[in-house]
Symmetry: C2
Subunit: 450 residues, 2 copies
Amino acid sequence: MTYIEEICESVLSRIKPTDEERSKLAALAGRIIRKIDSLGSERGYDIKGILVGSSARGTWISGGHDLDIFIMFPPHLDRKHLEEKGLEVAKAVSLDAQSSEERYAEHPYIHAVFDGYEVDLVPAFSVDSASGIKSAVDRTPFHNSYVIFRIKGIEDEILLLKQFMKGIGVYGSELKTHGFSGYLVELLIIYYGSFIKTLVAACSWKKGEIIDPENHGTVVFDDPMTMVDPTDPARNVAAALSLDNMCIFIDRACEFLEKPSESYFIHALAGVLDDNEFVGILGKRGTSLVGVIFDTPDVVEDVLYPQMHKFEDSVCSMLERYDFRVYNSSVWAGDKAVVLLELESAGLPAVRKHTGPFVSNTSHAKKFKSKYEESDTFSNVYIRNGKYMVELPRKYTSSKKLIESEIMNCGLGKHVGMSIARRYSVLENEELLGLTDDDYRRFLRKFFEK
Amino acid sequence: MTYIEEICESVLSRIKPTDEERSKLAALAGRIIRKIDSLGSERGYDIKGILVGSSARGTWISGGHDLDIFIMFPPHLDRKHLEEKGLEVAKAVSLDAQSSEERYAEHPYIHAVFDGYEVDLVPAFSVDSASGIKSAVDRTPFHNSYVIFRIKGIEDEILLLKQFMKGIGVYGSELKTHGFSGYLVELLIIYYGSFIKTLVAACSWKKGEIIDPENHGTVVFDDPMTMVDPTDPARNVAAALSLDNMCIFIDRACEFLEKPSESYFIHALAGVLDDNEFVGILGKRGTSLVGVIFDTPDVVEDVLYPQMHKFEDSVCSMLERYDFRVYNSSVWAGDKAVVLLELESAGLPAVRKHTGPFVSNTSHAKKFKSKYEESDTFSNVYIRNGKYMVELPRKYTSSKKLIESEIMNCGLGKHVGMSIARRYSVLENEELLGLTDDDYRRFLRKFFEK
């Protein structure tokens, strides 16, 4: 056995669901599906429960207790009807759950806990083909059918690739992570044949890589990577994957092949950063930290994170527009939400250079000159490189003042915007130690150490 | 009489040489030229003294006491011979001068003072045409002949334009000024016909303006403005003119035509900046001043200033290369020479971001990673926008330290380089008040106020 094989075997022994785990999960899924079907008969609905996702395919990582169960409705139903009836059935099914709550993706569904398993009960249309879907979730059963017959016997390879991606932090297509989805992992293994073959291939991937297993793609995407959906020629399964997560995978794949180690399969949490370390690091770096803190809006992560990043990008652009140089920025959310910025300097000189039009006898040039000859400036209007120039007082010499004055003009998503409109604060350097949440302190360490 | 005519008349009354001045100057020139000619006969040299320049054309500003007298040698002489014989004659002529010294342009000449007049005695070849010159000075007699017949009756216009340019600070083609030469002023008046017509024309000049009075230009120059030499189709008379001086002239010409005032003809010296003003201004601006001070090398300005500006440009580029932002820079020379720099900040954080190659399985990428995984860094190697990145200690966090460490790698002309190699200091902010020279203090005011 090669060293890589030894590692894979050791990893599998940890992550492969046991027979007991499988049968418990199968029993629970069966019970819920039977309940859906009998509820359908009772109430005269033409519905059918089906198990989808990794639990249906035997590709879940041991210890993962998630079940995706779809309640399939006939496609001729209108959407409003589906939402009403679907929720009605899902709620009825959840009556004997430990807990349940309504959640919202493209339409409402029920998230319930049965015997410690997290179960999503999702109403969907039972359409004829993936290209005829009425809602994004309708696609899932097609993915299920495509994958389930092709992964017989290579489930372990899928488990290894998933765990490798989890270890290096690029697994999960949610908008918080922008990584590889479970379906994408399955398609990679089906396409390349094995975990190691996928790593070898990834090692030569380039930005703009295209994989089209059914050779039927119809659309060219501008994404870092395209995996044409075998069930829908116009869809990129890797649409959510960010360039940097793709590159991290490429990088670690090469590294692992060159110097294999089980450590790649273990996600190492950053250590909690304590106050003294923070003060020490910041002092050594010599930069200025500025954070915008506000109450985390009560929305799901797929809604929250795009808004956080939109705000982050907008604040960074604004700071740069006003000549502050942003070295690093990132976002964190727990009870509080933080957009954290590391600046070359939190302050700037009072004077700034302002370039006017080219020297000429135009009204534009005249207006510029007369405007600044009369106003409060640091210099006369002068000529440099053929253009009028003048030195003016800078509007904001403090980054904190700038953010406080212009924050409502930043790109703010709806919920982040409402939260900030209610209350926020701009904290600097040691003031950012007000939050003691462990996850926040791990975030701070990663912010500096990467 | 229009208001402009009144102004011109008033200016002329100040600057036009009186009859007494003219006859005194003519008498002195005659005396020197006769001496040259008789020395030639005595020693058997085929030479001839001629008066050239503004004093020959009656276009000098009253009070200006400069005479340019050329000692013309036959063109078949070799250059070494000309230099020896030329100097010999010039020295003999200067025996009864109040003082005299040898100076060096393209070849040596004598600068002497007779009766309070500064007289340049310049040996030159008497070639047949301006295109056949053996040395740059040989061209002057041709300029003299071209101009002298064409300016009869419009000498006053030349005086007005010269004085206007002196007033706004763009007169003089030396490498300290990069302005308009006397010959260029004369050609402009000959071409446009009068002082006011020249201003009107200048008001519509564009960058790249071409004037070709004899319509015989053969070369396209990349200069801000081209005045094809009427005596040499391949030469641009305005070659020394900088874009900004051209633009200042355009700007002031338009202004003057719109709102005439005698003030344009008076060069206003900046006031001397005292210590308190300096401290006040610097405090208000919030920037950092850094100056490199050294002994001014003992060379003529046309040698000194190109070297000073070369050094200035080189230090600015170096500072920017190391992430310091230069707001303004300038040079001054008296007994001491100063390259003065105004920086956004004299210091930078210890950390800097270093971008590596694109993520890939190349040896280049591997080298980058292994290099920085082993060295002392602020962060791990990470991936951003598809490239490897790492945060490193900045080599220079202080602009002063940077200059002190790298000054000998800057672009230093020969003489500035030798002076700096002997001794220099880098002074910051109030330290720059060590120099109390009035001209330096005027320079400081102009540096800030423009």
